[in-house]
């Protein structure tokens, strides 16, 4: 088939020929799979007995009972989130009011000496950007990557905070695109305390409920600032993604 020199450009190659080429490989592979699966493989833990069947319930539906425990109350969960974030070297601060958050944001701006930031449209990010009073690159209607590369921080909202992991869930819909939460060297998340979920199963259920079937094309679970252990297994932060992750919540 390579000798026909077909290119995988659907505009140039006769569609039918390309389609047949594609479909035949697909059918080859699916055909081999179906043939292979004619013989049953025993279930794990069934000791070779192929008559044992799976239950109707998905095996992972009890994951909550096996993953690390989280507290029952919101206070305990916030405490757990705080502890986990600290272990990850992420900066987490919980405020009683929007005004306190604003004050902390200004302090951060001055301490880090930000001169330019990037962000997206949103109730919380509008508030944050207005408070900071710095030149902002807004991503929502397209942006220049080189301009974003010059920004000191990326300010975003998020979908959820996860107590169990100390992590943040963003999507390209809730956090200004794919690059904003990963290109600038400092990622700042502005969140509401209601956005805290207990654990990973809750986070996935939340996302499914919020977005299905029209999911954002990118969903990302961010657990701490970027890191690597590739050199002698020594932890280094800021490998390619942000070196600093700050979560401000009120």
């Amino acid at each position: 088939m390579r000798r026909l020199n077909l290119k995988n450009n659907w505009l140039e190659t006769p569609y039918v020929v390309s389609y047949i080429f594609k479909m035949s490989e697909r059918e080859n592979i699916l055909g081999r799979i179906r043939e292979a699966l004619k013989v049953a493989a025993p279930l794990p833990g069934s000791h070779g007995d192929t008559s044992v069947h799976t239950s109707a319930e998905p095996p992972t539906s009890h994951a909550r009972e096996w993953l690390p425990s989280v507290g029952a109350s919101v206070e305990e969960q916030f405490a757990l989130f705080a502890k986990n974030a600290a272990d990850l070297k992420a900066d987490f601060q919980l405020f009683a009011s929007r005004e306190e958050l604003k004050a902390a944001l200004l302090k951060l701006r001055d301490a880090e000496k930000w001169s330019r930031i990037a962000s997206h449209d949103g109730e919380l990010t509008d508030f944050a950007c207005k408070a900071l009073g710095l030149p902002v690159t807004i991503t929502d209607h397209g942006y220049d990557v080189q301009e974003m590369e010059k920004c000191d921080a990326g300010i975003t909202e998020c979908d959820a905070l996860i107590a169990q992991t100390g992590g943040v869930v963003v999507t390209n819909r809730s956090a200004g695109g794919r690059a904003l939460s990963v290109l600038p060297p400092h990622h700042v998340v502005i969140a509401r305390r209601e956005q805290l979920v207990a654990d990973l199963p809750a986070a996935f259920a939340f996302l499914q409920q919020k977005y299905a079937p029209d999911y954002p094309s990118m969903i990302s679970f961010i657990t701490g600032p970027s890191r690597t252990g590739d050199i002698e297994r020594i932890l280094v932060l800021g490998a390619h993604g942000p070196k600093k992750l700050t979560v401000l919540c009120f």
């Binding site: 794990p44 390209n172 200004g176 996302l207 990118m218 990302s220 800021g238």
Partner: protein, 463 residues
């Protein structure tokens, strides 16, 4: 040199390399401590393993249905899906996309599947510039060597060696501090993300229910690779399927725990399409290449089918005493360690690669460590059985046939013991020399002295 000779030569060299042994031991000691801590944090790691095993059983034993669901959903949102029966087809599909886009530079995030099909070499031959963005892969790319470990590609190197490497290849190595060396890589990569024509990724999981590809990483290089270039290509083996979105809630922390002793890897990202209407960035085109490359042969072996449950966490490599002593490069394959020793005979040929399944004491540490409860060490044994059934080694089989006769006839066994006792002085005389039939043992070890009275002699005498 045959593959088995190469393996034995390298294994012998590395087994005696005490410096290598210490470097690996130190690297893995750190991993063991955090891994045990994270496993203990689970309310029930064992229940999680069982559920994970059952989930992958469902995925693999209904692979056709799940793949069709995955592809339908991906295509519905504009993703172009390609099917490749083998590495050659996959390479051609990818090269064709690059040619079509008139790409010059392709930035890659870590993908063992791309190692498997020797993608970089093929693309570079055609004149494309291929940049590995993952730090560990970047390092071994500069050294022109394959990754040492499927999760930690540069585990075998010290900071001093990396400093020297950066000095030589990049002219930029301020010191040997891991922090500064990492920053060198960060600086080098920065503009490459922004200016690369094509971004290439692998995948950790493919979700059938929602049509998503899930990528796990710590550095953020995959996220940048999937955000900035105009064209994105993802290559994955067909066995990466998980049935449901919610399954990730268990698989992601298990992968992190077993693979690196982390509660969660830093970035776990699910992609469901190229840039959609209304989205402000992301690739305009996304090509997903599904790779068979003899996985369907492993699938057809119902006894070993669960080897396809592997999530490439590397836990089995980390606990394997063979891996720890011979190192990742000795295997000469993409997938090393226990899982590599199980699947390589299926993916590349049983007779040519059975030696990997032979080079094991069958200790079972791998099976114990596997978060998916894959019966790894028994599969090694099954590979041995299959290899000798299809092509028995004449002298070895003869030896076992003779052994069978001796073992079934106590008189022969008594005779054998007597001969052993009588020839002991002779054994001592030739010990270690070319005439010593026990040379394999006596080169480094003493043989135990054979007592005059065996147990059976004692037993008989008591009566």
């Amino acid at each position: 040199m045959s593959f088995v000779s190469q393996f034995k030569t390298r294994a012998t060299e590395k087994s005696g390399d005490l410096r290598h042994r210490q470097v690996i031991r130190t690297a893995l000691r750190g991993y063991e401590i955090v891994r045990d801590k994270r496993k203990a944090a689970f309310q029930s790691w064992e229940s999680a393993r069982q559920a994970a095993a059952e989930t992958k059983w469902e995925a693999i034993n209904h692979l056709d249905t799940h793949l069709e669901a995955l592809v339908a959903k991906l295509e519905a949102r504009g993703t172009k899906v390609h099917w490749a029966s083998n590495g050659e087809q996959a390479r051609e599909i990818i090269a064709a996309i690059l040619r079509d886009k008139k790409a010059r530079c392709i930035i890659k995030s870590k993908a063992m599947t791309s190692e498997e099909i020797h993608l970089n070499h093929a693309l570079e031959k055609e004149g494309f510039t291929v940049v590995e963005s993952d730090l560990g892969e970047f390092i071994v790319q500069l050294r022109h060597e394959p990754p040492y470990h499927i999760v930690f590609p540069s585990m075998h190197l010290t900071r001093g060696e990396i400093k020297d490497l950066f000095q030589k290849e990049l002219g930029d190595a301020p010191s040997d501090s891991p922090e500064e060396l990492t920053m060198v890589a960060r600086r080098v990569m920065r503009q490459k993300y922004i200016t690369a024509d094509v971004g290439f990724t692998g995948a950790n999981f493919a979700i059938a229910e929602t049509g998503m590809i899930s990528i796990t990483e710590n550095e953020g290089n995959a996220r940048l690779t999937a955000a900035l270039p105009k064209t994105m290509i993802t290559l994955l083996g067909i066995e990466k399927i998980l049935p449901r979105f919610a399954d990730l809630a268990l698989f992601l922390p298990m992968l992190a725990t077993a693979g690196a002793g982390q509660p969660m890897t830093c970035y776990n990202t699910m992609y469901s399409g190229p840039r959609q209407p209304g989205e402000c960035d992301g690739p305009e085109e996304w090509h997903v290449v599904l790779l068979d490359n003899r996985r369907t042969e492993l699938l057809a072996d119902a006894e070993q089918r669960d080897a396809l449950h592997c999530i490439r966490c590397g836990a089995c490599l980390n606990v394997c005493p063979i891996f720890r002593n011979v190192g990742g490069h000795t295997y000469g394959t993409t997938y090393s360690g226990p899982v590599g020793s199980v699947i390589t005979p299926h993916l590349r040929g049983l007779q040519e690669w059975k030696h990997l399944s032979n080079a094991s004491s069958l200790c079972g540490a791998c099976t114990e460590a596997c978060p998916l409860k894959i019966d790894l060490h028994h599969h090694l044994l099954q590979n041995r059985r299959n290899a000798s059934a299809s092509e028995p080694a004449f002298f070895e089989r003869l030896a076992y046939q003779i052994f069978g006769i001796v073992a079934n006839e106590p008189a022969f066994w008594s005779l054998a013991k007597k001969i052993g006792w009588l020839t002991q002085p002779l054994q001592r005389a030739v010990k270690g020399s070319a005439f010593d039939p026990a040379k394999a043992w006596t080169k480094t070890r003493d043989l135990p002295p054979q007592p005059r009275e065996s147990f059976k002699d004692w037993w008989r005498n008591r009566k």
